[in-house]
């Protein structure tokens, strides 16, 4: 049987040195201070040690995780080695990219940590929201640090939240990221819907998507994956997706958990109201596979997407991200996603990747983007292997 793994978001601190306009976390930061204690961290590792999991991918998050000193991380990784030596473990850090120095670089290299840097696009886009507390934009510092990383051969991926400003520069977006290559990957993310603000108007996500898609899809010298785009192609070809928004009922899925400063476990760091347990009291097997709360919210989520079965894109979309759905309403991005699926499907048919019935027959030759082509080839091979094993 395939190995069992889980992606663990470690909310190691609420502290942050920036004050980004759209931060969904700003409220929490003001209420709860502090850093995850060594005690809690030890409990995290203990609970995973006792579990039946084969592999754990830890992602350090926050706040700004690099406000925590490299020495602290050394302690963390030592503990991890001590408890999880017979598991496959990997680490990543999601950072705002403003606190990169020699010690940080040493840490990245020593423990083979994957770095993810928040960069929203060209300067005018990035600095629109991502500012220091004094109102100064952080673009300059991030770009400077990216150069340092490159000089030190530390690879990194990019996390990019899009908004209405992104649309203004949507045609410059892809060329900009090409110019700072090599990057491992680009994660384009629609912002979460928060009651008090909508920084991306309805209808604009699909426009941003198609503008970027047009350039990326046809770039036969492309050097990095844009997950949102490639996973959209993948689901239209009939494969399942690793992208959480395309999951069928992510709350039932056991592939991710989020752990807060005091050890509380939730299925996602946007769903902290769903308490699956605490690392001090519960084993990983308990909060991953045997939580009644997970079942309860899983049922509610099933009900939410009940009538989505009437949609022609149900199999690809699976009802969208629950965070962006308010009770009684369609998902905020529903009409955007319909446009996105329709657009990409058309492009795939136009390029004879899907046949005229919209079905994929396994032929990747007409895929222009080499990164995308490789991704689909690998996916085909994985499905083939699974099939043969059965």
């Amino acid at each position: 049987m395939s190995k069992s793994s889980v992606f663990v978001i470690m909310n190691i601190t609420h502290k942050c040195n920036l004050s980004c306009g759209y931060c969904y976390y700003a409220d929490e930061m003001n209420k709860k201070n502090g850093v995850m204690s060594i005690e809690v961290i030890e409990n995290v590792f203990k609970s995973f040690k006792e579990s039946s999991l084969d592999a754990i991918d830890f992602c350090f998050h926050g706040g700004e995780p690099l406000t925590v000193q490299p020495d602290f991380y050394e302690q963390v990784f030592e503990l991890s080695d001590k408890f999880l030596s017979d598991k496959e473990v990997s680490y990543s850090i999601q950072t705002n990219g403003t606190i990169i120095n020699e010690k940080v670089i040493e840490l990245m290299k020593k423990y083979n940590i994957e770095l993810g840097i928040s960069l929203d696009g060209p300067e005018k886009v990035h600095n629109y929201f991502r500012k220091y507390k004094d109102g100064k934009g952080s673009f300059g510092e991030v770009i400077k640090n990216i150069d340092i990383l490159k000089k030190n051969n530390v690879s990194f991926g990019i996390l990019s939240v899009c908004n209405d400003k992104t649309l203004e520069f949507s045609k410059e977006y892809y060329p900009f990221f090409k110019s700072i290559a090599p990057i491992r990957s680009l994660d384009l993310i629609p912002p979460d819907c928060v009651e008090s603000q909508t920084i991306l108007s309805k209808g604009n996500l699909s426009k941003i998507f198609t503008d970027i898609f047009n350039q990326w899809f046809y770039d036969n010298s492309c050097t990095f994956d844009i997950r949102f785009l490639s996973e959209t192609v993948k689901v239209l070809l009939g494969f399942q997706s690793e992208l959480c928004t395309y999951q069928k009922n992510c709350i039932r899925s056991k592939s991710m958990v989020s752990i807060d400063i005091n050890g509380d476990v939730s299925p996602c760091d946007n769903l902290t109201h769903i308490q699956l347990g605490n690392v001090k009291q519960n084993s990983a097997d308990q909060f991953i596979s045997k939580s009644l709360e997970r079942k309860r919210y899983g049922m509610i989520e099933d009900k939410r997407i009940n009538d989505c079965v009437f949609c022609e894109w149900f199999k690809q979309c699976n009802g969208g991200c629950t965070v962006n759905s308010k009770a009684g309403d369609n998902n905020y991005y529903c009409s955007d996603f319909k446009k996105i699926f329709s657009y990409v499907k058309n492009e795939l048919i136009k390029n004879s990747i899907l046949n005229f019935n919209g079905k994929f027959e396994g032929d990747v030759t007409n895929i222009p983007n080499p990164k995308l082509k490789k991704k689909i080839e690998d996916t085909l091979k994985m499905y083939e292997d699974c099939y043969l094993k059965l």
């Binding site: 009644l292 079942k295 309860r296 049922m299 009538d307 009437f310 022609e312």
Partner: protein
């Protein structure tokens, strides 16, 4: 050809006429050219042959394929009678008919040995469904817990996915049971007959007291965490099925599956048949109206049939009514192996014991005698519902005629009514509305026949 029992014509909601072919399993709009083709026996047309008159299965080939082989038979589902005890005393219980030793409970060793027996005597596919049955299976909850542990290990060992189900009377629930059922993803069928008045007229404790109130309370404890399917036994053929469905979903059920109480043909009257026809037709109309308002009612009989129609019955045609005797068996506390869960304690449907062996010859003989083309002395061959139906439930036929190869009049009637109503619903949907059936996962119904 039109009077041929292999075809039916019918109208959809808009009054458009359609024809359904029992030979190909396809439904077509009834244009003049089709009428002409069907009326003239000698008219040759490749396309119409393909769509209407070409038989899907060569019955001679089919019979040959059921000759003796040296291969072990497949097993994809098992029902465990984990106890013959029950805390209720339902009036129509078919298990009371046989001489049941009601102190019988399956023990851990029997279960363990049955798994070894399965591994040694059957071929496995990539999944297996295990159903816990009884009596009332939750009276042997301890064994259920132990079983799941053992069976999960069995699954891992053989690289197959194990799914679980339980058929329960719904009267025995506590926190531990809720957690266990939820955490092990056990599909739950609760036997409940409708409103309190209807339910308590049959499903009573030994004291005579009704069980409805307890069940409703227990459902409210379970339904936040798991999907519950209501398993309804209908005694009164007049029962309003729409009200039944709404009532059960109101009290917390996600899905409703109903079937009529086992009655022999000679006890079913013409007005009973008329009542079923009327109530089923009303249910179909309700289903259609709900779909038009973009709600999908979880009425199992229609959903299963519509998925089948949508994917074309070529992909899922039944050559037998269900998996019983083919890839599904029932095992009782003594380790005895029966054709299915309805034949418990009936010796001529017992095919061995886990300590003595499985009678493969009996199985092959049974399958050869009960394959679709042999049922009812061949009457299924010229029936338009044949591939959807697969033949009557062996138990119902045996009950009515002491001959499991026969069909029962009620079964034939009911299957045809279900298919007729499903065809009506399907042809009344727009192309977009039909796409729902691409979006729903077909459910494997191999352990429970349609009726």
């Amino acid at each position: 050809m039109l009077s041929d029992s292999n075809f039916i014509t019918f109208l959809n909601k808009e009054g458009k006429q359609f024809v359904f072919s029992g030979k190909t399993g396809l439904v077509l709009e009834y244009e003049d050219s089709i009428l002409e083709y069907l009326q003239k026996d000698d008219l040759k047309d490749e396309q119409y042959e393909e769509y209407l008159t070409k038989e899907l299965v060569d019955f001679n080939d089919l019979k040959k394929s059921l000759e003796r082989t040296d291969e072990k038979p497949y097993l994809t589902a098992v029902t465990y009678f984990i106890t013959n005890q029950c805390n209720l005393n339902c009036s129509y219980c078919y298990e009371k008919v046989s001489n049941v030793d009601d102190s019988l409970r399956m023990d851990f060793n029997t279960l363990k040995d049955s798994i070894k027996f399965i591994e040694q005597n059957f071929k496995l596919k990539n999944s297996m469904h295990i159903n816990f049955f009884g009596g009332e299976p939750l009276l042997n909850f301890e064994l259920m817990k132990e079983s799941v542990t053992l069976l999960d290990e069995f699954g891992k060992r053989n690289n197959i996915f194990i799914s679980y189900g339980i058929t329960t009377n719904g009267t025995i629930i506590n926190d531990e049971i809720v957690e266990f059922l939820a955490n092990n993803n056990i599909g739950i069928l609760v036997s409940i007959d409708g409103t309190k008045e209807i339910h308590d007229s049959n499903r009573v404790y030994h004291s005579g007291k009704g069980s409805y109130d307890v069940i409703v309370e227990n459902v409210s404890k379970l339904s936040p965490y798991v999907k519950l399917c209501a398993r309804v036994t209908i005694e009164n053929y007049d029962t309003d099925l729409v009200n039944l469905y709404n009532h059960l979903t109101d009290i917390g059920f996600s899905e409703v599956a109903f079937s009529y109480v086992s009655k022999i043909d000679s006890h079913i009257t013409q007005s009973d048949y008329d009542a079923v026809k009327t109530t089923l037709s009303s249910l179909a109309e309700y289903f259609l109206n709900q779909v038009k308002e973009k709600h999908l009612p979880s009425i199992k009989i229609f959903i299963d049939t519509l998925i089948n129609l949508h994917s074309g019955s070529r992909s899922d045609m039944r050559l037998f009514p269900c998996g019983a005797a083919k890839n599904y068996f029932a095992i009782d506390p003594k380790g005895d192996i029966y054709v299915c869960h309805r034949f418990g304690n009936m010796d001529n449907f017992k095919w061995g014991n886990i300590y003595e062996g499985f009678d493969e010859k009996k199985q092959l003989d049974f399958l050869r005698d009960h394959v679709l083309c042999e049922r009812g002395n061949g009457e299924c061959r010229e029936c338009w519902a044949k591939y959807f139906c697969g033949g009557a439930c062996y138990h119902s036929s045996y009950d009515s005629y002491d001959d499991s190869t026969k069909n029962t009049k009620f079964h034939c009637f009911y299957m045809k009514e279900v298919l007729k109503n499903s065809l009506y619903i399907y042809t009344s949907l727009s192309t977009d509305e039909k796409k729902i059936f691409d979006n729903i996962e077909p459910r494997q119904n191999i352990y429970e026949p349609i009726v």
